[in-house]
Structure formats: structure tokens, C-alpha cells
Symmetry: D2
Subunit: 335 residues, 4 copies
């Protein structure tokens, strides 16, 4: 049983802690949060130790690995400390809002053989992974286009948006990683455009967009289209489509159950979409822990690593520049 | 934490043991099987005690409840013993193949206030429960017809079929309970017909059918139609439709994931159906344990009880007679 | 160009007249109705002659064939007269409400080589025909079960219902024919049950049902299940499912268009079903005319003939008796 | 009855001629093609006059209107001649491959009150029009994003591709018009990218692309995304999605019929997509003729006019420039 400590017990850290506690091959070695009350609550509920400092976590022989789910600004520091302490790492995205800091972190940890995994959870969704499998297995032939639709059910709190680093770094970053996952080839060009349609005042204040379209292109000419919105009133819209020389594969949305209703005023209506990432990707979050444990216990390569996190951030930087300057930005320009 | 011991560690008992072990409010108090090696394996894997007799289980103060997943012939005896020992009970269907034995068991345990729950797991499926909810809430108005499609992915082993008590008692019994669940009113008439189409030789030998159609009717004229096959090559086909004065609700099949593929030779093809009951009703089996724990810890009524088990068996008896005699059988004739 | 005269210019006759007028290989030779004003209107609109008697129609050398869309009570007489006059016939169902009258008609016209086709239009629907094709081609292997769902969008006027001969002769008759079409084998047993749920008072007055379930069985054990309602508030529900040893084929409902809408209060809602038979089976009605013209011009056998009309009525008689007596009725008992 | 002559009897002209001949309120006044044998065949089949020159068509008092379905290079000339002759016009897209020529044509015909309609047939599809209706009626709130998927089932002949003016002018032009139809607001920015993936050698020779992605933006920030491929092996892929503040509407693909099949090796497989535009948009082509007749007979405004044709071509020009220069092109730069 691999002992994993969870750093950060906000919404997503708490969920990870529960998943680890329930995992047949992992053991929740304890939790830590700078907000000690929050950590205490999780520790009590799951009957595990609460650490009183990061140092205590990293010093504990019970801790084989850490899951970093703290605020973004602390990710890179914690990652470096954990590597220094010889702990395996599962780090929530993004590594940092600054590509320079990520590059510095990469230099600091260069040469480590510790498993360092990035939390791009959507790769572990059976539907999206099924699309990739349709590409890899040749079922749809040579890949030509990828179409990713990703819309959140509603705006996050203003404070979250203001600290998020902008939609490309905070939200589209998942889709950048998904595009890379399906494309299987480096992106060489990024073209992005953004609008302020959901909450223009907030977006103006943050110099950000709430509605974006992005087109990525690889050296061989493969294209990926991403559309994002901060608010889809009908729920969390998560679709991935791959189109190739021999066919097309689509990973469709998930509804709460499989009931369809017909009434006098409507026909063939489905139940609501699963509400947000914790519900929609529940199985994927559990599979993510399994993959992390596999990497630690069996020495398997991590399925999504530090460099994937860096590349996704690099695409976000390119998108920001593209949207600002109204031109296609070669990724070679960025990093 | 409610301590639950599992009696019988065959395929379904093992699954229940794992679900109980993983349940946040239940504790697997141990396992027992007349095949001690089978029980030992489960006990070792889940790190729980193995009991060496039913008596030991029932005498243990660690055991608040038992889950009966042994062979059918032992269900009624074990149920009576567990009641005598003051244990709550979750019993796999059917209570017995003989309605007389079930009636005798009912008499023996009459007056107990212990939670006694029957394992009609499909009631806990969110889709089928959603159909019932559409009926109860009035969404589809007054209920007129229920249509249940229930086809197994493949024939069970010959030995299982030969000991099953026939398709109506073994397979349709789940659909009888589902019909009762959706109808919300007692069935008064049963008309059934059966054919030998999948494996005529085996069916001849067992004097049984592998393909049946059943029509149930209530006093107010509501109708339920059930169609069953022992083998659907395309997978486990589980659909429930309710039709009423204000609309229709359908609980559709579940596929392994939500990927759809289009190719040169086919259009819009889904991934396979979930294979069989352990996969298809995985969430429902977990919800069943939760409902059982609720009944024990919070004194809530069991959502499906002994009398539901008796009624489903009574409908099976009526169906057997109807198919044999080519006439509609009033349930009042049976019991 | 085959000259076809239409007898009866009610709703369905008018539609047939328009279809014939628009057909590339047919010519509308004129119309006749005992209600001369109704016929006059159609004649004027389509710019064709109005006949003033059946005799005039049958005497006209311009008339190669007649389409009988008058009231049911006149069908058999007109059919006999048309045969005597040497005209090809396309007759709306049923031939008559009385099986005896149909048998007498059969005797009268015995030996004719004129094309006599019955208007079971659903056989010409590409979806339902696709299911039959999946059976005939072996795609789904040996056929085991057929499931037919057929629900009208709303009650017809009381007068229509009162004169209809009852739901089995008027409505289920289409499903009896569809079952025969898919089964490809004679039905030997009929079991039917009926309820008064939509309009109990009217049904009581007519000694009829508005909600029925029927199970048919062939000599080899194939089963067909039919469910009918006189009123589905969500529209005209027309589905056909065939299940066999190698798979299943389903002909699904048709919506008005292919738009799906997601909103804050609902998910993935389709546009309404096509309202009723004239809309739902518009293409099938046109294909029916084509098949009739093929039979006349090219001497091809009619795809659905007099005997099909007689057999469907025979099943209706058996269903009436089964529902009344609560037993399975062998078709050999009826005729 | 409006008399309409068809100029050009290639595949699409022939189809229009048949639609006009079958239309209840239109009359096919004759056909003309520079290839006299092709025109003769259509004239004979439909039993209408064959004109021996454009002048003869325009001089005929039987001709109220002309449908221009000749080769693209002749469209603008014929349009000017028809206006001079006082004939209403339905012109296939594009008006010309050159925006300058289109602008000159606009100047020439300025001030005419004749109905001049452009053949953007997809506007008449009930599904796509249903999406626009969902926007206009407010069902999906304020529009934010439009996503158009448009993939041909296979490459056209090399000669066609070589003369087409490139994918943006020939194929995407339909999607530019569809985007304008749904957006309901002028496009101000065009960003396009293209690849050579289907037939790189031919594309190289033509200096063209076979796979493109385009993002359009309006002054208010609405976005439209278009993805095109010259070859989708699974059929003619035609989908339109509109996303807004109150929901989403999708116009889905059309299959040949509504049969779904489940087998041992696949689950829930639909029949093929309708093959190409003549099948897929058959109803839309008929509705287009109706709209044209309405404009002529009832003086209704044409639903899609000359300026719509010009605007779509202008977007094509902008896309060509954007793809070539790797930057967002303001439409103000073009025209």
C-alpha cells in the first residue's frame, strides 16, 4: 500500500483524499492545509493524521508520495521540496501561472527519477481515452481534425477568476492537454480569439475573456479546434471528437442517468448533464490515482508528466499572445 | 459502523463483500461459505475473519446483520436462523423456489421487527428508479402501460439452468419485481407464453423456456409487458418504459463508455453494452448496501422486503401455470 | 402512365389523390365520393374529372385501377365490382369488419389475376422495412421476438370510434400486419388483454378497449408483442423491434426535424414526433403507390394482398375472443 | 403558376428542373444548356421545351424566371442579362469566383426590383432553420458561439477541384453563409487555417487545402467556428450548433432511415448518413423553389439575396488571405 499525503484540502484536495482513502492499493497517509481547520475536518472524517507543516509531511516515513492540491502559486515550490525529499508527486494543474517559473522548476528537478505526474484528469476518462484509442489503433485512420467542446456550467466566484491567470491558463489548459493527448504530435501553431459575452464587466476588469475559440496546428497539418465558455446553463459540456481518413470518433456528454422522457410539450428529453468536474470525472479521478500508484509501485512511466504540464502552459501563453495580437503564433516563439 | 457478515462467497457474495468493505458506513464483519477455500480467499483478500459455521456467524457480537448469498435452497432456513439470532437480513432472491416454503417462512418469522430486505437490486438503479420517479411525481400522469425488456447476454452453465427453478422463478422474477415497483399496484392477472429458441435441447430436458413474453394486469387495468431471452448476443439488454396519460419515460441501456464511432462501413456505432449484472448494476449494488445500512442504523423501512420477494415468486408461479395452460391466471388462484 | 381513380375523398382519399397526381408513373384519372361536394373540391384542386357514380368510374376506359378509400362498410362491395370491371385495386384496410364478409368476398373474386393490393402502408416505411430486411438478410440471425409499439397521438372523434369495429379491428390490425410482415411465418396463437384507461365511459359504451397488449406466437415459437394506446400525448409513437439469435434491429420514431435543444431546465430535448400517419408515413404512402404501379405495369406481385388483409382481420377476431375469454386463442379456431 | 426556365442541366440543374416540374405552384418553362444533348435529355424526360439559346429563353413570354445552374464563370453575365430581360432569378452559388466581378455585377443591376435569390439551399433545411429559429425566438438566449461541421463524403473529380476557385470559395462558402444566417450580425474578423491531408499532391498542384478550420467574429464578439474536410468516409457530415446564454441547439446529421442495429460485434449502429447534398438537402431544395415562387408571386422579400452571395464570397477572400498570411483578417480590409 502506497502512503500518499494530500497537501491542500479545498474542494479538490478533499475529493482526492477520499479517493485515496477508498483506493484498494493506496493509503491516505495524512493531510495538510495552511488552513488548519479545513485539514482537521478532513483528517477527522477520514480518520487519518493531520500534519502541521509541509516539512512534517515530507519528513514522515509513512509518506511515499504527495498529492499537491494547494493554491497554484505554491505548486512549483512544493514540487521542488517534494523532489528534494524523495517523494513521488501528483500535482494539480497548472504547475505555475508563469512559464519562466515552470522552466526554472524543470531545471531544479532535472535528472530526478521520481514519478512526477500532472493532474490532467480528463486523460483518464474512458470516453476521451476511447477517442484516443480509436486514433492509436487506426480505427479512424490518419488523424485530420480534433474538435473539443468544453464549457463550464457556471462562472466561478469572482475572486477565483481574478486569480486564475486568465481563461487560457486556467480553463483552456485542460483542452490544450486533451488536444495534445489526441493529436499525438507537437503543436506548432496557435491561433486564438476571445470575447467578453458572459460577464463583460468582470472580464474587462481582469483583462480576460469568458468565451474563446482556439485553433491548433501540428507540423504535419493536423488541426485541433477548441471552444470554451465560462457558463453553459445546461450543464458541464465536455465533448471530444476526432476525425480521420477512415472515420470519426466522438466522446459524448454524460447525463445523470439514462432516463429519457416524452411529454405533451417536449419529445425525448434526457436527464441533466452531470453537473461539474467532480461528478463528471469521478471515475477518471479514481483512475488517475490508480495510474499514480502503478507508476510508484510498478515503476510504470507516468501517463502524463511534468513536460505535459509545461507544454500545456506554453500553448496557453501562445494563445494569450495570439488573441492579443490577432495573428497565428508559432509555438517556437514562446518556449 | 454496521457490521455485516456475508454468507456465501460465490460470484455475487464476493461482490457484496467487497462493496460492504468499501462502504463508508458499513464494516465487513467476516465471511462464511460451506466451501471453506472460497471463503478463505475472500477473507484473506479483504483482511476480515472467516467464520467456520453459520452458528459462529450468528453468535458473533461483531455481526449486526447478515447478507445471504448462498445457494437458493438454503435461503429460507438461514433467514429463519438469522431472525432467531436477532440479526438484520439482506437476502438474495428468491427466498425459495417453493411458494409453500416461502409462506411457511413468513409464518415462522411473523412479528419480527428486524429489517429484512430482499436483493432486488434493479430497484436501486438510478435509471429504473428515475422511471418510477416519473410515475410517482405525476410527470407522466396516470400510468397505463409498463414495458420491460430484459435479456441476458448469454446462457448460464447447464447446471445452473437445471437448478434454477425455471426461467420465470430465476430470471423473470426480477422483472416481476420491477413491474410491481413501477406499477405501484397489485397485479391481479398473469398471462405468459414461452418458447424454446436459444437452446431447445436443454429447455426440453428442463421442461423450461428460454424466450418468454408475459403480460400482467392490475385491478384498475394497468398493464405490464415483459420480454425475456436467455441470450442476447449484443449484451445485457435492460430497459424499462412507463407510458401514461401525460407522457412516457424510458430507462435506456448502458454502454461501456460514451464513445460513438463512424466509419466507412457503419454510422454512429456505440461501444458495447455493459456486459452483465455485476457491471451493469455496480452502482445499484452499492446503493442497495446503503439502503440496508439506512434501515439498520436509522430505522428506515426497507425499500424492498420479504413480502416483495413472496409476491414476485407468486407471479412466477402464476406465469408457469399460464404458460402451461394457455390461459390468463388470476393471482388469487395462486396464493 | 397508369390511370388511377380514387373512390372516397375523405382525409386519406384526398392524400392518395394528391400522391397519385404527383407520381411520375401514375395519372389521377378522376375522383368519386358519395359526398359530391367533397369530391368536387378535390377534382377542382387537382384539375381532374369528378365521376358521378361508381359505375361511371368502372366504365371509364381512362381508369386502369381504383384506389378504394371509402367508408369500411363499402370496401368489399366495391372490391367485387372493380374485379368484375377488370380494374386493378388498391384497397384501404380493413376489407370489412366481418370475417365472414371477407371470406365471401374472397370466394367471389377467386381466380382473378388482377392486382389486388391492401393498404397496409407501414410495410412501405423505410425504417420498418429495414427491420424486415435485417431479418431476411440474416443480419440478426434466427428471429425470436418482435416488439411493436403503436400509439395514436389522440382519440379519434367518438363517432369514428363507435363505428370502427373496435380497437383490434381498427387500430391493432396495422400491427397484426406488421407482426406478420416481420415474423415471416403464420401466427398460430393469439393472447390479448384490454383496458379502459384513456376514455372509460366511451369504451364502456362501445364495449371496447383503448389500451391493449397482445402476444402472438408462431408454430416454431417466435413471439410478437404489440402494445397499443388510443392516446399518446407526446405524439404518434411508432416503433418496431426485432430480436434474434445474432442481434436486434429497431425502427425508431421520427421527429419533425433533427434539432436537439439543451436549456437550463432540460437536456438534449428533441423536436416533436411527426404528428400522425399522414405526416409520419408520407414517404411510405408515396412508395405504396409506386408498388401498386409496379404491380400493374410490370406484372410484379403485389407486396401485400387480399389474403394479408384477411389474415390481419382473423388475428383481430382471435384477439377479441382472447381478451373476452381470458385465454390464448389458436388461430385455427377462427378461420 | 410561375414559369421557370432552367439554365444549365448538369447534375444540380437537372435536379432543380425536376423539382420545378413537380412543384404545385411552379411550371418548368423549359431548359437550356450549351451541351445540347444534356438539355435534350432533360427536356424529353420532363416533356418541356428545350431552348436553343439564352436569348431565346429570355425572350420567351412563357418564362417568368430563370434558375441559373450553369458553370460558375457564366453566372454573373447571365444574371445581368436576365435582369435586363426583366426575369426573376434564382442563381446557384457563387455569383463569381472574383469579388471584383461580383461588385461590378452589383453595380450593373443596382436599382432593380426583380427578385434575385441566391441558392444557399442549407438555409431551407428544417434542422438548420430550426437552430436559427432557436436563436431568433430567444430559446437559447443571447448567441455566443456557432459551431459548423461540414465534410463532404468524398473528393470531387480533379477537374472540378482545379476549377473550383479553392475550398474557401467552393465549399466553405456554404458555411460562411450558414454562419451569417445563424449569427444574424455582420462578421468583422476572419481567421483561417488550411492543411493538405486528404490529397496532398492535388492540393499542392492547386495551391489549395482539403482540410480547413475557420473562426469568424462579429463586432459584438460572437464567434463562429467552421471545420471542413473534402472527404469524410462515413458520409456527408452536416451539423450546425448554436450556443447562447440560455442554452444550445444542434441540428444533427440525417441517416438514410431510422433503423438501429445491435450485433455481437457492435452496439446500436445506425444506418448510413444520407450520401450527399442532393439526398441530404432534397426537402430543402424543394423548399427553396417554394420560397422563390413566394417572392415572385406574392412579392415577399427573397430570404437570401445577391448581397448574401457577395458577403459569403467576401468572407472566402478574407479566409484565403488569413490562411496565407497567418493572421486574423478584418473584413473591412477586403470589401
Amino acid at each position: 500500500m502506497t502512503g500518499i499525503a494530500v497537501l491542500g484540502t479545498g474542494r479538490i484536495g478533499r475529493m482526492h483524499a477520499e479517493n485515496i482513502a477508498a483506493h484498494p492499493r493506496a493509503r491516505l497517509a495524512g493531510v495538510y492545509d495552511i488552513h488548519t481547520a479545513a485539514a482537521a475536518e478532513v483528517a477527522a472524517k477520514l480518520d487519518v493524521p493531520q500534519f502541521d507543516s509541509v516539512e512534517a509531511v515530507l519528513a514522515s516515513p509513512d509518506v511515499d508520495a504527495v498529492l499537491i492540491a494547494t493554491s497554484t502559486a505554491t505548486h512549483a515550490d512544493l514540487l521542488e521540496q517534494a523532489v528534494a525529499a524523495g517523494k513521488a508527486i501528483l500535482c494539480e494543474k497548472p504547475i505555475d501561472l508563469s512559464l519562466d517559473r515552470v522552466n526554472a522548476c524543470a531545471a531544479t528537478i532535472a535528472g530526478t527519477s521520481l514519478p512526477i505526474m500532472l493532474g490532467f484528469v480528463r486523460r483518464f476518462d474512458t470516453g476521451h481515452a476511447g477517442v484516443r484509442q480509436a486514433v492509436e489503433s487506426g480505427t479512424i485512420g490518419d488523424l485530420h481534425q480534433v474538435v473539443i467542446t468544453s464549457r463550464d456550467p457556471g462562472m466561478a466566484p469572482d475572486a477565483y477568476i481574478e486569480a486564475s491567470g486568465g481563461i487560457f491558463r486556467d480553463m483552456t489548459i485542460h483542452d490544450f492537454d486533451m488536444a495534445r493527448f489526441i493529436l499525438g504530435e507537437d503543436v506548432t501553431e496557435v491561433t486564438a480569439t476571445g470575447s467578453r459575452l458572459v460577464d463583460p464587466a468582470l472580464m474587462e476588469r481582469c483583462d480576460d475573456y469568458d468565451t474563446v475559440s482556439v485553433v491548433l496546428k501540428t507540423a504535419s497539418g493536423k488541426q485541433a479546434i477548441i471552444s470554451n465558455s465560462r457558463r453553459a446553463v445546461y450543464g458541464y459540456d465536455q465533448r471530444v471528437e476526432a476525425f480521420g481518413s477512415a472515420g470519426m470518433a466522438i466522446s459524448e456528454n454524460h447525463t445523470l442517468d439514462h432516463v429519457r422522457i416524452h411529454g405533451a410539450d417536449f419529445t425525448d428529453r434526457a436527464t441533466p448533464l452531470k453537473n461539474f468536474f467532480i461528478e463528471r470525472y469521478a471515475d477518471a479521478f479514481a483512475a488517475e490515482i490508480s495510474a499514480f500508484v502503478d507508476a510508484i509501485e510498478e515503476g510504470k512511466p507516468v501517463p502524463v508528466g511534468f513536460e505535459d504540464g509545461r507544454q500545456a502552459l506554453l500553448l496557453a501563453e501562445a494563445a494569450i499572445r495570439s488573441a492579443a495580437e490577432g495573428r497565428t503564433v508559432p509555438t517556437s516563439e514562446i518556449g
